[in-house]
């Protein structure tokens, strides 16, 4: 349980948000040419880092917009929040 500073609405309770998993996983440009192994990598395999991780979140009970977050999963400390399409901050 923690507070999240939505880039559109400001600081709100984490309950209003939904975690969308690892960020910056790019959808395959040519899906028809992907091998089964590449599909498995894209769909299922995750870094699941203990430490600083890049994630997508959605303000489901607010503005319903997606944004990115850099969070330390070992203590739930949020390091940075940035909008979709913006360049991720360097660590």
């Amino acid at each position: 349980m923690f507070l999240i500073n939505c880039p559109y609405c400001g600081e709100r309770d984490q309950q209003e948000f939904k975690a969308g998993g690892e960020a910056h996983i790019e959808r395959p440009k040519q899906p028809t040419e992907l091998s089964d192994d590449e599909w498995a990598e894209y769909l299922f395999m995750r870094k699941n880092i203990k430490g600083v991780q890049f994630e997508r979140w959605n303000h489901t009970h607010g503005c319903r917009k997606w944004f990115n977050m850099v969070r330390d999963t070992s203590n739930d400390e949020i390091k940075a929040i940035y909008k979709m399409g913006e360049k991720p901050p360097s660590q």
Binding site: M1, Q14, Q15, K18, A19, G21, D36, D37, W39, A40, E41, L43, F44, M45, R46, K47, N48, I49, K50, Q53, E55, T73, S74, N75, D76
Partner: protein, 417 residues
Amino acid sequence: MRNKYSVFSLIKNALSYHENWQRAWKDPKPKKEYDAVIVGGGGHGLATAYYLAKKHQMNNIAVVEKGWIGGGNTGRNTTIIRSNYLWDASAGLYDHALKIWEGLSQELNYNVMFSQRGVMNLAHNLQDVRDLKRRTHANRLNGIDAVYLSTEEVKKFCPIINTSPDIRYPVLGGTLQRRAGTARHDAVAWGYARGADEMGVDIIQNCEVKGIKRNGDSVEGIETTKGFIKTKKIGVVAAGHSSVIANMAGLRLPLESKPLQALVSEPVKPIIDTVVMSNAVHAYVSQSDKGELVIGAGTDDYVSYTQKGSHQIVEGTLNAILELYPIFSRMRMLRQWGGIVDICPDASPILSKTSIKGLYFNCGWGTGGFKATPGSGDLFAHTIANDEPHKLNAAFNLNRFVSGDLVDEHGAAAVAH
């Protein structure tokens, strides 16, 4: 040779004020090299070592544990054991474990306090009714005892449940597996540790894995806080930290680690003599032998390794508990805690070889691994010893995420995630 626990040893030790009991396992320093090393000294890891030594004659092996044995999810779960899963592959896996549970105390000469008090799963809406009836039929086709109960039969089996039709999520029926029940979690870890230690397995506590040394496509050993240990076979049974170990070897797994919470009340006289689970309203409860109500809550839906979890998750579970059991309204809660569970996209575990020779993973048990402890250890030991899965865990390989042959058990997992 280890002394056998019996009524005679109890009397003998009582005469010396219980001051001369033999140690249950040694505290060895790591050797330079082992035939296999198990990473993780929880129930599954210790069971794996036990069966490697017992059934596959691999006695020059070690279990390395970063904390103390049984101090992770083995000591944090709600101890429910059942095998009423939907698909054939899962039914085979979980019922294999349940059959071992039935003789485990005798096998280990250690009372794991296995109690077949039955597990009841409740239905609260029409879809639940259809799903649970389907699951009951599937269970019976697989030789697993399961019956479907009407609302009246639910009330008769567990009278303290509120079956009034005017509650928010009325009880429309339920299923019952009578062979299911609970066991004492610490005793499972200690019993397997004692058994494995007796057969020569080194159980090395306070020894954290810091790296995995590879030579091309095979493993050479592990770097630990107690130095380098050479080995050709590494079995990783690290639950919520499986991805952390996988990342050391340059592998990615289809897992996300999330906090799962549980809580216990103050101890009271016997009031509930079974285990009742409700998937839809997310509440499950049983009573420990000490008299505490043991209540399982849900997972937070974001990746976290904090071992705590959010307050609203507990609040939601207790709301549901109070609606189903108004009699508990004045109970005080004693403790609340969290454990980190590794969740697979199909809510089924992975017991598998990997693309790296000599590296094996037993993970992805998510919210329900305790029940499988003996079966998981047995099958994982088989996989490590033969470098091939047993037929009961063949479906639970890593390759299913490539082939698409998933074992979707979200419905039977009983914890929404």
